[in-house]
Symmetry: C2
Subunit: 255 residues, 2 copies
C-alpha cells in the first residue's frame, strides 16, 4: 500500500504547492515512485510540472460522479517515477456537490487505499479552504504536512487546523499523524526567529527538523515548470527539500 501524505493549511500562500512538487521530486530522486494529486482548483501543482488542467470528464471530477476510475486519469510528468492526477477546470464545483453525498468524506480514502496503486508515496496538494476536498485528503492520509510561515496569521491558522485534525481522527482516520514544516523562513528576520521558537516550544517534535528557507530559485523553478532539484540542483532550497525527503522517509519506512 502506498504511504499517503496530505499537504494542507487553511492559510493561503504558505508553500503547500511548492512543498508538494519539491518533496515529490526529491523522493523520486531517493528511489521512490510518487503520485501527485492536485486537489486545488487553482491547478498550481499541475502547472508546477508543466501540465495544463484537464476537462472534467478526464479528471477526478468524473470519479467523484462515479463515471470513471482514478487510475485512468493518471498522467506522466516527464520525470520517470513521478506521475500526477492533474486538477480539473471545475474542481471548485466539488466543494458544492460532494457534501450532498453521504459518506463523502472518505471517497478519496476508498479510492487510494487499495493495493492496485503501484506508487510508494502519494502526495495530495490541497486548496487554502477547509472544505470537502481538504477533508477528503485528511481522511485518506497517513500523514498531514502543514507548511507554516513563521508569521502571525499563519501561526494562528494552526488552531483551526488542530480542530480539524481532532475531528478527522474521531470520525474517519484515527491514525492521522501531523507535522509542521517551517517554510519561506528568513533567519535574519526577528519575527521569524521568535515565532519559530514558539512553535517548537508548543509543538515539540510535531515540528519537522528540516526548515525551508526563503530562496528565489523556487520562484524561478515554478516559471520553468520544473521541480527545484532539476531546475537548480545545488540551490539552498534543493538541498533543504532533499533533507526533507530523507526526514519523511524515516516515517514512510516505519509503516
Amino acid at each position: 500500500m502506498a504511504y499517503i501524505i496530505a499537504i494542507a493549511n487553511e492559510k493561503g500562500g504558505v508553500a503547500k504547492t511548492t512543498t508538494a512538487v519539491s518533496l515529490g521530486a526529491a523522493l523520486v530522486e531517493a528511489g521512490q515512485t510518487v503520485l501527485l494529486v492536485d486537489l486545488d482548483p487553482q491547478a498550481n501543482l499541475s502547472m508546477a510540472v508543466g501540465i495544463e488542467p484537464v476537462p472534467s470528464s478526464k479528471s477526478i471530477m468524473s470519479v467523484f460522479q462515479d463515471t470513471g476510475s482514478l487510475r485512468e486519469h493518471q498522467v506522466e510528468t516527464g520525470i520517470p517515477g513521478l506521475d500526477i492526477i492533474p486538477a480539473a477546470f471545475d474542481l471548485g464545483m466539488a466543494e458544492r456537490f460532494l457534501p450532498i453525498r453521504s459518506g463523502y468524506e472518505t471517497l478519496l480514502r476508498r479510492l487510494l487505499r487499495t493495493p492496485d496503486w503501484k506508487h510508494d508515496t502519494i502526495l495530495l496538494d490541497c486548496p487554502p479552504f477547509l472544505g470537502a476536498l481538504t477533508t477528503n485528503a485528511l481522511a485518506a492520509a497517513d500523514m498531514l504536512i502543514m507548511p507554516t510561515q513563521a508569521e502571525y496569521f499563519s501561526v494562528s491558522a494552526l488552531r483551526t487546523m488542530m480542530g480539524l485534525i481532532r475531528k478527522i481522527r474521531n470520525e474517519h482516520n484515527p491514525q492521522l499523524l501531523y507535522r509542521l514544516l517551517l517554510t519561506m523562513y528568513d533567519r535574519r528576520n526577528r519575527i521569524h526567529r521568535t515565532l519559530a521558537e514558539q512553535l517548537r516550544a508548543t509543538f515539540g517534535n510535531g515540528v519537522l527538523e528540516t526548515v525551508i528557507e526563503v530562496d528565489t530559485r523556487l520562484r524561478e523553478s515554478a516559471i520553468a515548470g520544473l521541480p527545484i532539484i532539476y531546475h537548480s540542483p545545488h540551490s539552498r532550497s534543493a538541498l533543504q527539500y532533499r533533507a526533507l525527503s530523507q526526514e519523511i522517509l524515516t516515517y514512510v519506512k516505519e509503516t
Copy 2:
C-alpha cells in the same frame, strides 16, 4: 451611498487582508469613515484590528439565515471612523448553504447598497476561494482590488479572476471596475521586475500606480493588532498605503 470595494484573489497569501486593514485605516486618516467586512473564515481581518471572531448568532451568518440585521453586528475597532463586521467562527458553512437559495449571489449587494449605511467606504476582505462569499462580494462592489504578487502562480490566477469578473458583470453587476495592486514587491528581485513589467504591458491602467513593497513592519503590525499607519507611521509600507488611499479616493470621488 457608500462606495464598496471588494479585495479578492483566488491565490492565497497575496496580502488581501493586509491591504484591507491598511487601506481602511489610511482612508480614515484621510477623513473618510470606513466599514470593514470580514468574509474570510480565517478571521484574519478581525484579528488585524484586535477583534476575536464572533458566534454565528452575532454575525453575518444570522443575516444570511434571515434572523438578524447587518447593522446590529457592526463593532467599533477603537479607531474612530473605522468599524468592522467581524467574521463568524462558522463562516465556512456559508459556502455550503448559501448556494441553495435562489438569488444568493446578490444577498450582500442588497444588504449593503442601501442609504442607511453612514460610512463613506465599505471594504470587503475575501477568502482565497471563489465560492459564494467571494461571488457575493464582487456582485456588491463598485470596485474590485486584486492584490497580486509578481510571481508565477499569482499572475496565473488572474486568468480565472478575469473569467469571474466577466460572469459577475454579465449576471449581477455590469459596473464592476477592477484594479490590480502589486504587493510584497521586491525591486531587487529580477522575477518581480520582469513580471511587474509584463502585468503593466498586459493590463495598462488596470494596474494601480501605487506598488506595495516588502516591509517586515507589516508583519509586526499584524501581531500588534494595529493598522500599519498607527503601528509604524513612518515606515515605507505606511507611506505606500497612504499613497494607495489617495489613488483610491480619485475613484471614490468620481462616483
